[in-house]
Amino acid sequence: MMSDPLIVGAVAYTPNVVPIWEGIRAYFNESDDPGAAMDFVLYSNYGRLVTSLIGGHIDIAWNTNLAYVRTVMQTNGHCIALAQRDTDVGFTTVFVARSGSGLTGPGAIAGKRLALGSADSAHAAILPLYYLARAGVPESDMQVIRFDTDIGKHGDTGRSELDAVEAVLAGEADVAAIGSSTWDAMGREELMPGTLDVVWRTDGYCHCMFTALDTLPGERYTPWVDKLLAMDWDNHEHRKILELEGLRHWVSPHLDGYKPLFAAVEEQGIDPRW
């Protein structure tokens, strides 16, 4: 271990975060390049993570899309995007209803009971309303039922989305908005035939992003980013880490994918801090 490793912050949204980051740390610290050495710190919520990044307690934050947007807003843009997962690009929100509901397309959601995940979940609360409004269905045209069951985690636990789905299955809501990763994890149509159908799916947007302040010198983060991008799916040891974190390849930032969320945060008056 170098005496001055980069400190990466992340949020502990599940116990599995610990083995994930221990694996990532081991990968960086066995490196031939001591400049890529790192350690990690886990936080209980994204608000605290962003505050710590801005306060200089950590060098890099593993941010959700909302945490990235809030970092940009709180620093007046004095931050840099470093890398993200391939699965963070082209993320979508999926609207699901009970099979046989006959609901198809955004217009069918108008006048219905829409179950949303935690209010600070970009994919299960903020962006669903944003994209529905763009499709001509403002929030005022629906009965929104919120499940704020993992506030602070920005929906990472998936718990609030499962609550929303269960509300649909119980007949307490007509449609649930969930992240495409949750829909994939549920087994999509393959394991849900006769149970849930997709009503509509939003355009793609971006999710998580490694973020640093622009005061972090390039020579500090470049070896780390290069080493991150060098993780190889075909390497057995690397693959274990990649599978745990839910990706095949780390990729360079796709900043266009955050424009919808910036717009949604402004439009919906989302607090730039918490």
């Binding site: 116990p15 599995n16 083995p19 994930i20 994890a185 549920m186």
Partner: protein
């Protein structure tokens, strides 16, 4: 909805941790198994009644690769143990196979050992261990060791107390290359060793170690120790360092609750990584349980290949289904 239950459960588990969910029907069980297979998680056990209702134990993630955990030299089939005989000049009070001067000899025989070593080498075994009883009570132990060492690295376990007369000549006849002697010594001073193994045995064992080293043998020393006192093990290692035993050849293992041992570590097939063991009575899961009927794999000794295949298959299944990983028990 069983998939939602599974997703909620997995959110509370770290990789490798286990939990339980209930299923109400065979259809739900099937759906749970499909979801686990698709999501890279593992159904470990199924406990359902005739209607399909019951409990599934699931693990987050896939089983770890046993090769990565154990290493190639400790995978089942890497080691073959052969009990050359069961009679012994000592009657240690913790002997895991109850050997003593009165124990029936139950010799495997030099010819059969040579055939087994050949078959094992052809199958892919990496290393042979010859144990007993006291192997050096056999008049042909030299030939037995030579037949094994000609094929595979071979370790002979001994109390080193019979290296005189015929026993010494047999020892001297053994090649130094590809052979190690593993000598039992429990402590740095006579008291503890002699308390288990008999008065005067420590002095003879140490003399045997010095003799074997003087003859140019690689010597590994293995201690069987129950609840060591503070400083006991460090004194033991210091003593072995002074004798010239490499640190990697200083083995300390607990007493197993097997044979004549009245207490010790309780071992089962499920808790042990197998080290295939042949005695005159059959093929066993592990040398520490070589008289334990629960560890008996088959009475049929030859050909050995079916037993090697069976133990490998059984271990793979056990490893995939175990709620906790089997452990290595360091006999050597």
């Amino acid at each position: 909805m069983v998939i939602i239950d599974l997703m909620r459960l997995m959110g509370t588990l770290a990789d490798g941790a286990t939990g339980e969910i209930t299923v109400a029907s065979a259809a739900e069980q099937e759906l749970a198994e499909k979801w686990c297979a698709r999501s890279g998680n593992t159904v470990l056990t199924v406990d359902v009644d005739g209607s399909g209702a019951g409990t599934l134990t699931v693990r987050r993630g896939r089983p770890p690769d046993p090769l990565a955990v154990l290493g190639v030299d400790r995978m089942p089939g890497a080691r073959l143990w052969m009990y050359t005989n069961f009679h012994c000049n000592l009657a240690c009070d913790y002997c895991c196979v109850a050997s003593s001067p009165q124990t029936p000899r139950r010799e495997l025989g030099a010819d059969r050992i040579a055939r087994l070593a050949r078959e094992a080498a052809d199958w892919g075994v990496h290393e042979v261990f010859l144990t007993g009883g006291e192997p050096f009570l056999l008049p042909d132990i030299g030939a037995i060791v030579r037949s094994c060492a000609a094929l595979l690295p071979t370790t002979v376990l001994t109390n080193a107390m019979v290296f005189r007369g015929r026993g010494l000549r047999e020892l001297e006849s053994i090649p130094r290359d590809n052979v190690a002697l593993q000598i039992s010594l429990d402590s740095a001073t006579p008291h503890l060793h002699d308390a288990h193994r008999g008065q005067g045995s420590w002095t003879k064992a140490v003399a045997g170690i010095r003799l074997a080293l003087g003859l140019g043998f690689r010597v590994r020393v293995a201690a069987t120790v129950d609840a060591p006192a503070p400083g006991q093990l460090s004194a033991f290692h210091d003593f072995l360092d002074d004798l010239g035993i490499a640190r990697d050849d200083q083995v300390v293992r607990p007493i197993a609750h097997e044979g004549v041992a009245e207490a010790g570590v309780v071992l089962t097939r499920a808790s042990l990584v197998p080290e295939i063991t042949v005695t005159a009575d059959g093929v066993y899961w592990h040398p520490v349980a070589a008289t334990d009927e629960d560890a008996l794999v088959t009475r049929r000794i030859e050909p050995l290949t079916p037993a090697l295949d069976e133990i490998s298959r059984a271990f793979a299944d056990q490893w995939a289904r175990a709620t906790s990983a089997a452990q290595l028990f360091p006999c050597a």
